[in-house]
């Protein structure tokens, strides 16, 4: 445990990171091109690592510091690197991502989601300490917003990154509430890389066989049409 003033400062800085983190979730809904999506995702992951670092320092927990390190490595370096290697062409394409719902409309939905997230989490926040107060509702909100972002994107790369953003949200809550089980987060953090690798290869195969990664256009499988 770190002493009085420094601890307060760490808590405050964590709150600052929390604010920026939820901000990044909204920004993640806005870009129209895969590249912009990746940029925002890297920023968000960086904030997650920063929060893990602050909390690790605050609780004197080596596991959380390791989580910070792994998040930093996996999500801001390895995953973007993997994506760039496997999906170079798709990532650089200037094509606008097709959206099921327009950006303003989906952002308004995001407000509702955020409010709901806070309402759901509110009963859990009685005397649980300032960092949980910040991280749990924000992490939960970002998780739900991520699910929604995923649902309205119809392109492979943004969908993939949205999945990872959901992951970010869950972990943002996780590092505050389950700091003792950081070993899980380590394993899951590493698994994120595997997941992205698998999904990226799949996306590349799709690009090779179908010609584009606009997965929203793949609608051959549904009821009522003979296949």
């Amino acid at each position: 445990m770190t002493g009085g003033f420094a601890a307060n400062l760490l808590v405050d800085l964590d709150a600052l990171v929390g604010g920026l983190f939820i901000l990044s979730a909204f920004f993640l809904m806005a870009p129209r091109q895969a590249q912009g999506f990746l940029k925002h995702f890297v920023r968000q992951s960086f904030l997650l690592a920063l929060s893990a670092l602050l909390l690790g320092w605050l609780h004197g927990s080596v596991e959380l510091l390791l989580v910070a390190l792994i998040t930093l490595l996996a999500k801001t370096l390895i995953i973007p690197g993997l994506l760039t290697r496997t999906l170079e062409r798709e990532l650089r394409s200037r094509r606008e991502v097709e959206l099921a719902v327009s950006v303003p409309a989906s952002l308004l939905v995001a407000i509702v989601i955020t409010v709901l997230a806070f309402v759901f989490v509110a009963p859990l926040l009685h005397g649980v300490g300032p960092t949980v107060d910040i991280n749990l509702p924000i992490g939960f909100a970002v998780t739900l917003i991520g699910v929604y972002t995923l649902a309205v994107r119809r392109e492979a790369v943004p969908q993939m990154l949205a999945v990872m953003a959901i992951d970010n949200g869950a972990f943002f809550a996780g590092i505050a509430i389950a700091s003792s089980s950081a070993i899980v987060e380590l394993a899951a953090g590493l698994e994120g890389v595997v997941v992205v690798l698998v999904v990226a290869i799949l996306a590349r195969t799709i690009a090779q066989h179908v010609g584009s990664t606009a997965v929203g256009d793949l609608t051959s499988l549904k009821e009522g049409t003979p296949s």
Binding site: D12, L16, G19, I22, L23, F27, A30, V103, F118, D133
Partner: protein, 316 residues
């Protein structure tokens, strides 16, 4: 009392005289970041001087509105200066005349006259620019309101002097997510409202792509100077609101000595310079959005402001 009135006048003079410099520094910074030399930081003063000494050309179609509008646009930011903390951390003589809503109202009043004048002149580009800037403003306005309301919700007041004390009460408040989100939302709408990238390109001269600039095409001579100067003051006033009310209410004079207030001028100038650096960075690293993408941008600002409001009871 007399001293307060004097300070108030000093505040107005500061804004009046420094506004072109702020503009000049910003342009210079941007050019520097783009590794160009750029004009002197005093260039806006020369421009104003030149325009004041030129003859004015009036449209035969125009009415009194066209002649009156520049004065209204010029006076609005000056009036607002009386309401907001520019140099002092304590309220001055006129401060309780109006709150932040009034400040927003006065600013949009000026913009309203400018819009009327642009239509009045009969130039084709005027109404086009007006309709576009109205579109932006009508989206910006509610965000302004929400930012103000969530700020005043926290401070239980809409008077800017009371609000600014709110954030410095404790570090926890200063770093709270609400504060971060409010500052972000306000910064985004300042960019939109003052016609900057990514909403509008202030240095663009292509009539069809303009938003703000096309409204002032018809003005010449003294009217043009007033509109230009008014616009510069408006940007500066908004920057000051962001700095002194929302973001960093430090460096303001707390004592009533003349020296303390005078000392506040360089301190505020330093804050402004830092802010300009951020603005210049934003302006050079983003591209202008397509007209119909502006609503995306503003919706993000709106959502951020609303969420800031909802977060308040939880995180403060």
């Amino acid at each position: 009392m007399a001293l307060h009135i004097a300070f108030n006048i000093l505040q107005m003079l500061t804004v009046l005289l420094l506004a072109p410099l702020v503009q000049g520094v910003l342009v210079r910074l941007e050019e520097r970041i783009q590794s160009k030399r750029g004009p002197s930081v005093w260039q806006p003063y020369f421009d104003l001087w030149k325009l004041f000494h030129k003859d004015e050309v009036l449209s035969t179609q125009g009415t009194w509105i066209f002649r009156f509008a520049p004065y209204a646009y010029f006076a609005a930011p000056l009036l607002v200066t009386m309401l907001i903390p520019v140099l002092t951390a304590y309220p001055l003589f006129m401060a309780f005349m109006g709150d932040m809503v009034a400040a927003g109202f006065i600013l949009s009043g000026g913009a309203f006259f400018l819009a009327l004048a642009a239509i009045d002149a009969g130039n084709v580009y005027g109404p086009m620019g007006t309709s576009r800037s109205r579109m932006v403003s009508s989206l910006v306005e509610p965000i302004f309101m929400i930012v103000f309301f969530s700020v005043s919700f926290a401070a239980n007041s809409t008077i800017p002097y009371v609000v600014q004390a709110q954030w410095v009460q404790s570090a926890a408040r200063f770093f709270s997510p609400t504060h971060v989100l409010l500052v972000a939302a306000f910064l985004m709408i300042i960019l939109a409202e003052t016609g900057r990238i990514p909403v509008d390109n202030p240095s663009g001269h292509f009539e069809l792509a303009m938003i703000d600039e096309s409204k002032v095409l018809e003005f010449s001579g003294r009217s043009a100077a007033l509109v230009k100067w008014g616009g510069q003051m408006k940007s500066m006033v908004l920057d000051l609101v962001l700095l002194n009310v929302l973001l960093a209410p430090w460096g303001l004079a707390t004592g009533t000595q003349v020296s303390a207030v005078l000392l506040a001028i360089p301190l505020v100038a330093v804050k402004l310079a830092a802010m300009l650096l951020v603005l210049a960075f934003i302006e050079t690293s983003f591209a202008k959005l397509r007209l119909f993408r502006i609503e995306d941008y503003l919706t993000v600002a709106f959502v951020v402001a609303v969420v800031a409001m909802f977060l308040q009871p939880v995180t403060l």
